[in-house]
Amino acid sequence: MTKLHRVGSNLLYGLLPLAAALFLGGAAFSAEVKIGYLGLKDDPRYHPDLVYTRIEIAPGGNPIDGATMGVEEMKVVSDAVDQQVVLDRQEATDAASLVAKLDEMVKAGEQFVILDLPAELVDQVAGQTREWPVTLLNATAPEDYLRQRCYPNLLHTAASDRMLSDAMVQLLRTRNWTKVLMLVGAEPRDKAMAAAFRASAERQRFNIVGEREFTLATDPANRERNNSLLITGNADYDVVFVADHQGEFSRYLPYDTQLPRLVVGSTGLVAAEWQWSWDRDGSTQVTSRFETLTNGRRMTGQDWSTWIAAKAIVTAYAKARSGEYQKTADYIRGNRLKIDGAKGVQLNFRPWDGQMRFPIVLATHNAVIAEAPLEGFLHQTNVLDTLGTDEPEHKCQ
C-alpha cells in the first residue's frame, strides 16, 4: 500500500520539474532561511465568537503571533550561525488554492511550513503533497485521525484530542472520579472530542454511566436534551464531561446540574497546550513576551503550538546547519532535538505518528490545577507517551 502511494506520488511530483531540480539536487546552503506559515483566509476558528447580544465567549486572535514570537526570540541563535530567518505568511481559501500556494512556497525555497488549518484542510493539503520536499507542521488541528494518516511529511505540534483527554482522565483517575456522565454536541468537533474521551476512559477502566446528546433550544418537547437539570438527571455520576466545541451550551452547565458535581471538558476544567496563568518552568516569561508582542492578548494553546513549531524549525536549522533539506528534516524528527517549551521537560517528535510529545495543562478560567502526565502515571520508555496514542496501539489508516 505504502509503495503504491510512493510511486503515484513520485509521478505526481514529476509534474513539477522545477521544484524537483531545485530541492532534490541538494542545493548549496543558503544563509537566508524562509519558514512558511499557511493559514485559512478569514478562519472562523479565530473569530471572537459572538453569541446573543454580541457577548464574546472565545478569545479571538490569530495564532500567527505565536510563530512570529518563536522566530523573533530565536533570532540571536540564527544570527550566531549566520542564518537570517524570515517567516512567510500566506493564506488561501480552499484545498486547491492552499496546495497551489504551498507549491509556490516550496519553489521559493521553503522547506518547513507551519499549517494553521482546520483538520479537513490539513488532511487534503498533506495528502496531496506527501512526497514533496517539505515538512508540514500541523499546529492547530487536534483531530486524532490526522495522526493516523501517517503522511511522511506531516508533523503535529497541536495536542491531539487523545492527548487532551488522556490528561483529563489522568486527573479524574487520581481523584477517583471515575463514574462519568458524558454530554456531547452534534458538531463533528464535539464527536471527535467525545470519541477521544471514551478511548482514554476505557484505558483507565472508567464507568461511563451515560452519553447524551444536548441541543441548543428550549423546545419543551425536547427538554430531556436541552434542559441542563433534566439532561443531568436520572443518573449517578462523579463528574460531568461535556464536549461542546462552540461553548454556548456548556457555559451554562456548571452549577446547573442535577447532582452537585463538577463539570469538565469544554468548560470548568479544560485540557490544553497552554494557559496564561501557568507559572512554572519559565512559562510566565513566555506569556509576558507574548502579551508584549500582541498588545496584551493572552496566549492560547494554539499560540503555544505555532510558537513551538517555529522554535523547532529554527532550532533544527541552527543545529543541523545544512543546506540539504533531508539533513534538517532528519534533525527535526530525531531524538537530538530537545526543545524547551516552557514546560520543564525536553520536547521532541514521536517517530510513529509525528506528534510532538509535551505535557498538557488542566486549567480552570484562572488557574492551572494540574499538569499531565500526573505523578504516578508511568510508561516503559517516556512518561509523556502516557498522553496520546501510544506506539503499540498506533495504526496507520
Binding site: 540571536v76 541563535v77 519559565g282 524547551d340 517516556n382
Partner: protein, 329 residues
C-alpha cells in the same frame, strides 16, 4: 517590602551612616539565608536550623550574594525590579537598588563597584554602578538571560540565555558580546573551577553539564550527564552547582530527579547521589565545607547534606518556593 522614592532616600542615608561609623563586623554568625520566591521573604536560620527571622523583601526574591566583607546581603527581587540589600548584623532591609525588569541572577565585579544582573523580562545583562546606582551598560542577550559570572580579573562576564541555548561572552570594558557559545537546552547557572580554567554550565532541559575552556571559550570535551539510579535521563534537570575550594568535589543539583550528585572535580566520577527534596535547585557549601545546603523549590524546604558521609542529615521547611541558600560563616 516595596520602596518608594522617599524610603529610598531614608535608607540610603541610613546605609551611608552605617558605613561611615565603624561597627562590629558581622562575620561568621553562622546564619543560613534562604530566599523564597512566593514567600517574598528571606528566611534566616541559625546553625540548629531554627528560624531566627523572616525578613520581608521586595516581591519574588531569588539570587543572593554577600559582599566580600559579608556585611551586606544582596537579593534580586524579580517582581519589583530591584536588588534589596540586607544588613547581615541587624537582619533588616536597608536599601534597594533599582534594576531593569525582572532581575534574576547577578554577580559583582571583583572590586564590587559594578553589579551585573540578568533581567529576565527584557533580555538584557545590565551593569549597574554601585555608587551612583546608574545603569552603565545594558547588553542585549538572547531571551530569558539567567546565569551570570564575572571572571576574577573582571575583564570578562558570562551570561546564559535560556531560550537561545547559548552562553554570551561579554567584554566588560566595552560591554560588547564577543562570542556566543551554543550549549545544551535551557542553560541556567555557572560555576568556575578554583583554578579559573573551566566554566561549568548547567543545561536544565537537555540534562547536561557543559564545560567551557575559559582560555579559548570553546567547549571542552563531551557534556556530562548524571542520572541517579531509578531515574531516566529526561528526569534530570540540573540547575545549581557548587565547588569545593580545592576543586576536588563538585555538587550538582538535578532538579526534578530530586537528587544532588557529588562528583570528583577532576575525574568527574560520581562519588554519591544524595536524595533531597522536590526540584532541587541552588546549592551552597558552608565555608568549612562540612555541610551543603540545597533549596528544594517544590517541597518548600532545604536539605542539609553532611559532606564527610555525603548523606542528607535533615530537611527543614522554610517557606514558599525556596530559590537560593547562602551561609554567613
Amino acid at each position: 517590602m516595596r520602596f518608594t522614592r522617599r524610603t529610598f532616600v531614608a535608607t540610603a542615608t541610613a546605609l551611608l551612616a552605617a558605613s561611615v561609623v565603624p561597627r562590629a563586623v558581622a562575620k561568621g554568625t553562622g546564619m543560613i539565608f534562604v530566599s523564597t520566591e512566593k514567600g517574598n521573604e528571606v528566611v534566616v536560620l541559625d546553625q540548629s536550623l531554627a528560624v531566627v527571622k523572616r525578613i520581608a523583601t521586595s516581591r519574588r526574591p531569588r539570587d543572593m550574594h554577600f559582599n566580600a566583607a559579608k556585611e551586606l546581603l544582596y537579593v534580586a527581587c524579580g517582581d519589583d525590579d530591584a536588588i534589596d540589600v540586607i544588613d547581615v548584623a541587624t537582619l533588616e532591609v536597608v536599601d534597594s537598588i533599582p534594576t531593569g525588569p525582572s532581575p534574576e541572577v547577578f554577580a559583582f565585579s571583583p572590586d564590587e563597584k559594578v553589579i551585573y544582573v540578568s533581567n529576565e523580562e527584557d533580555s538584557r545583562l545590565e551593569a549597574i554602578d554601585m555608587e551612583t546606582r546608574v545603569s552603565i551598560q545594558d547588553i542585549p542577550t538572547g531571551a530569558e538571560p539567567e546565569g551570570v559570572l564575572v571572571m576574577p580579573d573582571g575583564k570578562t562576564a558570562y551570561v546564559t540565555s535560556e531560550v537561545a541555548d547559548m552562553v554570551h561572552v561579554v567584554d566588560t570594558t566595552t560591554g560588547a558580546v564577543t562570542k556566543n557559545i551554543l550549549v545544551g537546552t535551557r542553560p541556567r547557572r555557572f560555576i568556575l573551577t578554583p583554578d579559573g580554567t573551566e566554566l561549568w554550565v548547567s543545561c536544565e532541559l537537555s540534562s547536561e553539564i557543559y564545560i567551557i575552556d575559559t582560555a579559548t571559550n570553546e567547549i571542552k570535551g563531551d557534556s556530562l550527564i548524571f542520572v541517579p539510579p531509578g531515574f531516566r535521563e529526561e528526569d534530570v534537570t540540573p540547575v545549581g552547582m557548587a565547588v569545593t575550594r580545592d576543586g576536588s568535589k563538585i555538587l550538582l543539583s538535578l532538579g526534578r530527579a530530586n537528587h544532588v550528585v557529588i562528583i570528583d572535580g577532576k575525574t568527574h566520577d560520581v562519588l554519591q547521589y544524595v536524595l533531597v527534596g522536590k526540584r532541587a535547585w541552588s546549592v551552597d557549601l558552608s565555608s568549612d565545607e562540612s555541610k551543603a545546603y540545597v533549596a528544594n523549590g517544590l517541597s518548600d524546604d532545604i536539605t542539609v547534606i553532611d559532606m564527610a558521609s555525603m548523606k542528607p542529615i535533615q530537611s527543614v521547611p522554610v517557606g514558599r518556593v525556596p530559590h537560593s541558600v547562602v551561609i554567613d560563616d
